[in-house]
Symmetry: C3
Subunit: 439 residues, 3 copies
């Protein structure tokens, strides 16, 4: 992708982002608990002013939902009669079913099997299983591992607490000229998996750094790091009026770190500026990108775009959740998510935000086609054929009618919007166009 | 078609409807006369309260048209010099050209030929010919029969009256909660032919029985049995203001009894709820159904949808008039029209009416996606892939925004609307959606 | 094309138009100067009342542009040391770069080469080069000719004036019942080239004759013969308010004389009545015609349709400028442009104007389908199948709802609008429709 070398520095973001992911990968995250706090603390260090971390008590209502008890997992294993740990949380945190209740019990293999989860079609993968809203305990393991279990007695131990506590989330507001906001949401509730989910928070953090580095921003950027589903519901239930008044665009950031594909999932409305920006960017980055529909939704957009909430939130991904074989297994690791994959995801999201941020409405200031020649904007010798730079400039100008946004124009003339930005600036300097903000 | 066994009773309607058609088949119907009255009387017996049969005198104006004289046909034949009846109305009522004036005259074969109609390409078929608005007499016969006529003298006898009388039609109003109406129109003016037209009135009568069997109806249903063209013009001219104020949907019922195809013909506007319902139903019953355009019209929709009338009347058919080889010949009989064909036509029309009747606008009552799990609406274990019942429920819920009708939603999520009805009821019972009528 | 023999006279316009082109071909036209005036004088003789020729002084502003000095070219050549004219304006007026400044100078071949223009890929073609807004001088020649130049001394002579003078244009207003106008614009600034541009003014002149021959016109027709770009800018800058108030449709007439293709280039808005008419006509004349987009624009529509001007000007062409190999070379001559090519172009443009002129909104005067039979408009015997004349009449009638224009209806029923005109007249005579003007 050209964007990777935009400022001549090669892969300037991917390696850094991948390093962050490596640091965060081993942490045992869940909806609640120490892992979420540790993750938020790590990311907080990367942004100016840090994240504001909030906590919400278990039992708090969130629209139709309730904040669950806090889960603290210390250790978990299954040992055989000889004391060998045949399944061991210390080896991989996916071995424990998320939100397992405490247990310490001897049983036959037959009884144990009722608490085991494996994938016969992916015999080398440990599946990711949770049971947030129904109390149970269980262990996940590779199918190969499971088939080696011999009849006999086993002791299952889950050393955990599942008791009233808090749910945490982090928030960062980067002010802009306008009170209107762009919302970025990403989640921090999955244990050791890389595309879904670590790619989300680490790319979002790099985006936050970029936004903070800008001399000014048109919009205010609100970035939240939350546990999926219950976290977005909690956040929405506390801020829905504010968000409905302020948010003009936004993205849910998830599955944005592998190299295999680019994907777009629309908002429920399907035609918000976020959708237009995402489609525009992905079309120019990867014309073969996947375009999903609202029927394929599956993350927090379900709540952000729910009837009555109706925020303009679209999703730009690399390989979409549920659509790649490693999804929700131990195979979704930092070999799958690469520096190049993250770099590409970063740029796709950044381009989309640049599109939103710079989506002005330009108006040409003269009647008839301007005389570019007298301003040195028209070449002395023009070559027949191929869309030259001059042609792009003239195609841009001809649509500066005060009705089309720059993004509309970019789509009309088939150019990446970010390549039109310097032309608009040039035309402004020559007094040939004036601009106003789109929203 | 699955619909046939919907209530586990197999073909519960088709055999009954076919029996009615058998009873009515031999009657000599025309625009006017005893055959129409006999047909209306038979159908009147099948519905609660019977049909209200009205009569309109010959000479009455109907917009640009005038009710013609009443035609009474008693007998008609052509006999040769030996007194053999070589063409005989008693053998098949299609042998006489509809509205033939009385005659009793000897002539040469050459002269007779001017009054004969046959189909060289379909030598075994007696064609259906009428001459309502120009006085003539004539006989129809198979081309094989015609070719056996030998030179000689023939006597042509038409024992008929063609004199001022009345035009009859039948009407049934089945009241509903609303004064808004759904109009069904079908015609009773063709002699012994089955798909066009007997399938129309018999399927419509079965639909009337079903509507009367419902504990309540949202809309009022107005069902008329009329002679084609002049009948709909008469009815319209007497009721056009009422119909324009009240009718929100409706169908012209014709050619709905063979097994070979499903067909849709739009209203002139093309996007009424009748059109949307017809397209939705046929898409789910038969994705390969024929979709005609307004240019292919040819029945009473010409008047119902005429400029200034503009009723929302669409047409659901099996094989469309003019498009099947037996059309308007003696081959359009009760072998072509079958119990299974009628059953399918019945269900297509009933489904379309169910769609109109139940086209509520559902609104979800909570913000964010509802928690289905706590209501037992979400499975404990969900399988990857395939659109599960839960997924359908969630797809339904996500569009319950108070703006989309249930039919809109069904199209958005690719489900038959009638399969969503029990889900809406379930969601209402759980207090998760409220509904209002669409129109 | 059938249209050629419409009135049974065979190619009645093409030969005449081609003759005019032959007369005008040798004249050395440019943005300004005697050639423009000579051309306007010739065309002025062909229309009743003649053209009103206006003049605008050099230095006059025209929106963002300024009228250049007037160029008078008397002679120009390059001679070798023996006095042989190796390049000679007298042999072909394309040999001189348009707007060359005066020069008389000896130089080496190497220095001369900097002032020569040829086309290596088209070695037999003299290219067309101009330098209106930057002072230079130069010669154009075939590449074969150029390769025969031997090292040595050459004298370049341009006997020309380039001094303040005037820019000329011609105008013809043909009044109609309405003050609303249809604008035709064509240009007269190219030296000896036939498709681009002589086809434009000669076809436009034939169209003017036709318009003047009509007993009455609904619209007023404004026809201007201008130098391209600066001429349309001058005209617009002097009349923009008038034009924006009055012009309801119009065409830029260019490249309308060869036989190889029909082409359509839209207005910037893309959906004006001019666009609708052009697409309709070309669809029926040549279903394989080229449909360009606004991105392919390149003539005066750039100004007529510029933001803030927004006139409804579309373009109907044969082979489009820039898209045929002879474009802007000496090969674009009167072998390429033929009587048949001009005839076809004439008819395409005339049909489009007929469509605009006759684009009434018909309203049927009766409810329900009219009874055509009693008016002799319905055949006694109708044949199954094929769209008969009666079917066309009924398809027309069914859309006479007072909302669709005749052009809309023609598109809805797939008929050329000009074939519906006599039917509308017939229906008007029978009192079945009333009409009003569309705009």
């Amino acid at each position: 992708m050209e964007a990777m070398t935009e400022d001549g520095k090669g892969m300037c973001y991917g390696l850094q982002i991948h390093d962050w992911a490596k640091s965060l990968f081993p942490i045992t995250r869940s909806l609640t608990g120490a892992g979420v706090r540790e993750t938020l603390a790590f990311l907080s260090d990367k942004v100016q002013g840090g994240l504001e971390v909030d906590e919400v008590p278990s039992g708090s209502p969130a629209f139709d939902w309730t904040v669950p008890d806090e889960w603290t997992i210390r250790d978990a294993w299954v040992e055989d009669e000889h004391g060998n740990r045949v399944i061991d949380f210390q080896a991989h945190n996916l071995h424990i079913v998320g939100y397992s209740e405490p247990v310490d019990q001897w049983m036959d293999l037959e009884e144990l099997q009722k608490h085991l989860y494996s994938l016969p079609e992916q015999p080398d993968a440990i599946p990711y299983v949770t049971s947030y809203y129904e109390r149970r305990w269980g262990f996940c393991l590779t199918h190969n591992q499971r088939e080696q279990l011999k009849p006999g007695r086993y002791r299952a131990v889950v050393d955990a607490d599942l008791e009233p506590g808090v749910l945490n989330y982090g928030e960062l507001v980067i002010p802009g000229d306008s009170e209107q906001e762009v919302l970025l949401s990403t989640y921090v509730c999955h244990p050791s998996m890389a595309n879904n989910e670590l790619s989300g928070p680490v790319v979002t953090t790099a985006i936050a750094q970029w936004l903070q580095s800008l001399p000014r921003r048109c919009y205010t950027y609100r970035i939240i790091f939350i546990p999926e589903t219950i976290g977005s519901l909690v956040y929405l239930s506390r801020n829905v009026d504010h968000l409905k008044q302020r948010v003009v665009a936004g993205f849910n950031v998830t599955c944005i770190g592998d190299e295999r594909a680019y994907s777009y999932l629309p908002s429920r409305a399907g035609d918000t500026v976020s959708d237009q920006a995402a489609k525009h960017v992905l079309h120019h980055i990867d014309p073969d990108c996947y375009r999903y529909t609202w029927l394929d939704r599956g993350s927090d957009e379900r709540h952000y775009c729910a009837p009555g909430v109706d925020l303009p939130i679209a999703t730009i991904m690399r390989s979409k959740y549920g659509e790649y074989p490693e999804y929700h297994t131990s195979l979704d690791d930092l070999n799958l998510v690469t520096p190049a994959g993250l770099e590409g995801g970063y740029w796709a999201l950044r381009r989309a935000l640049e599109v939103v941020e710079n989506n002005v409405v330009p108006t040409v200031t003269v009647l008839g086609e301007p005389q570019l020649g007298k301003r040195g904007l028209y070449p002395n010798i023009s070559t027949r054929g191929s869309t030259s730079a001059t042609r792009v400039l003239m195609n841009l100008l001809t649509h500066c009618d005060g009705e089309h946004t720059l993004l509309d124009i970019a789509d009309l003339i088939g150019q990446p919007m970010w390549e039109l930005l310097p032309l608009v600036k040039q035309l402004e300097e020559h007094g040939l166009v004036s601009v106003r903000q789109a929203v």
